[in-house]
């Protein structure tokens, strides 16, 4: 079955824009990890299309957009995506609630890696508010999952 992979790349580009779109300072702390969620969905649904390689490249683009040292986000995205890519069959069978918890843990790992790498490069102080995005990501996940699955079926992405 040959499908159309263009939608995968469009969704990743949309994710990148959502990561850098300006938000009011109060809401900025709660910005969900759009890119991580989108990559997780595709790594779970189409592991042969999207995996650690795509995560690495998108991570570098995010580094360029954020002005962080190159490689910080590619490292941080590659680890959770590797976990998804090795366990995608198990994750497909999880209920929506279980999956949301799994995503929360993955997002937690992602933020912890970014924090560690940033700490190593430019010593920053840890604050628990840095972990708020994990919570919003969990809340966002069911809706994003539903949306992306609809698009995948509608446009026969494979």
């Amino acid at each position: 079955m040959r499908g159309n992979p263009a939608f995968i790349y469009i969704s990743i580009i949309v994710g990148l824009v959502l990561q850098i779109i300006p938000m009011p300072a109060q809401a900025d702390l709660y910005r969900p990890d759009w890119l991580l969620l989108i990559l997780c969905y595709w790594a779970m649904a189409l592991p042969n299309r999207v995996s650690v390689g795509v995560a690495g490249v998108t991570g570098v683009i995010l580094d360029l957009l954020y002005g962080t040292a190159l490689g910080v986000h590619s490292f941080a995205l590659a680890v959770p995506i590797f976990i998804v890519a090795t366990n995608y069959q198990r994750m497909r069978n999880q209920s929506i609630l279980q999956l949301a918890i799994t995503i929360g843990i993955l997002s937690f790992i992602y933020h912890l890696i970014i924090y560690w790498l940033q700490f190593w490069l430019t010593s920053i102080e840890f604050r628990f508010i840095y972990l708020w995005p994990s919570v919003t990501s969990v809340l966002l996940w069911p809706w994003l999952f539903w949306l992306l699955r609809r698009f995948r079926r509608r446009f026969k992405v494979a």
Binding site: L16, V17, P22, L64, L65, Y66, T68, A69, A78, A85
Partner: protein, 304 residues
């Protein structure tokens, strides 16, 4: 075909390749200076994404400017005219003072200070790394922006250019934890270093002995030491001094004069050497076109 790595590598191998690549990239990016041109090139490649992210804000401000009422415009116009009149009166006095200063400097055989070339830049509404204080502005290499350039707003120094792309560049604010700016107290020329704390409304002075002559309300101006910042622009104002003798140094907290939390329009400065070079090439100082600079210098080289 659509995979970044060819089939055949196992998932684990690919994962390890990505990790090694990331760590190598981080190391090279932070420790090796010469890759900044590569980075600038890559940044220019991804800048369309920044323009897309900037679009909603740009559309909003565009429509806001379209739909301002006539009354509002008239009021603005009046206020601005008033301000211009006041400022030009002040400027006239400055001109006389400048002439006088030049004459006095000539008498002393001191080098005459050149006027600095300036350009207005605008903030691009894109979000950045939350762990660092950076902004993106809409001027880049094609406008002659260079790395380390001083960036100001109407009341003081904002920061320095950190990365130059083709059409936009990234500015590191003076409030970033990794940033420090050599300054002096305008009252008595005591040199200090103003470093960022990661807070927009507070900066710190480090290693200030208890005996230093410094008071609350002192204005700190850039000293130009270190050859990064242009000399003589206001940086911060001293807001609090705690002289606790049990501590090795006095604790001084200062407030940045630039409004770092409400940046919209910024001023880019070209320091004197570049300016002089441009002047030697017979270039009008007010020209903002970098292409012209290149053309003129090219012609001069040909003549030689």
């Amino acid at each position: 075909m659509n995979e970044v790595f060819p089939r055949g590598f196992s998932l684990l191998t690919r994962f390890i390749i990505v990790l090694i690549f990331s760590v190598a990239a981080m190391f090279v990016d932070t420790k090796v200076e010469s890759v900044s041109t590569l980075r600038a090139y890559l940044t220019s490649l991804v800048s369309p994404l920044q323009y897309i992210a900037d679009m909603p804000g740009a559309v909003l401000s565009w429509s806001a400017s379209r739909f301002t009422s006539r009354q509002q415009l008239l009021e603005d116009n009046e206020a601005l005219t008033e301000r211009i009149t006041l400022m030009s009166a002040q400027l006239q006095r400055f001109r006389i003072l400048e002439e006088e200063n030049k004459k006095l400097r000539r008498l002393l055989d001191a080098p005459i200070k050149q006027e600095v070339r300036k350009m207005i830049a605008e903030l691009m509404a894109v979000d950045n790394n939350p762990y660092s204080h950076q902004i993106v502005i809409n001027k880049g290499a094609i406008d002659g922006v260079f790395e380390g350039q001083s960036v100001l707003d109407e009341s003081g120094i904002v920061g320095q250019v950190m990365e130059v792309g083709t059409t936009n560049s990234r500015v590191l604010l003076i409030s970033d934890v990794t940033h420090a700016i050599p300054s002096r107290i305008s009252r008595n020329n005591v040199t200090v270093i103003v470093s960022g704390l990661g807070q927009l409304n507070e900066l710190a002075l480090e290693h200030v002995p208890h005996s230093t002559d410094i008071k609350v309300g002192d204005i700190l101006i850039s000293s130009g030491l270190g050859n990064v910042f242009v000399e003589g622009y206001p940086v911060a104002e001293v807001s609090e001094i705690i002289r606790d003798e049990s501590q090795p140094f006095a604790q001084v907290s200062v407030k940045p004069l630039a409004k770092l939390d409400r940046i919209k329009y910024l001023l880019l400065l070209w320091p004197e050497e570049i300016n002089e070079a441009a002047e030697n090439n017979g270039l009008n100082q007010s020209t903002n076109n970098s292409d012209e600079i290149n053309d003129v210098s090219g012609e001069n080289q040909n003549e030689r």
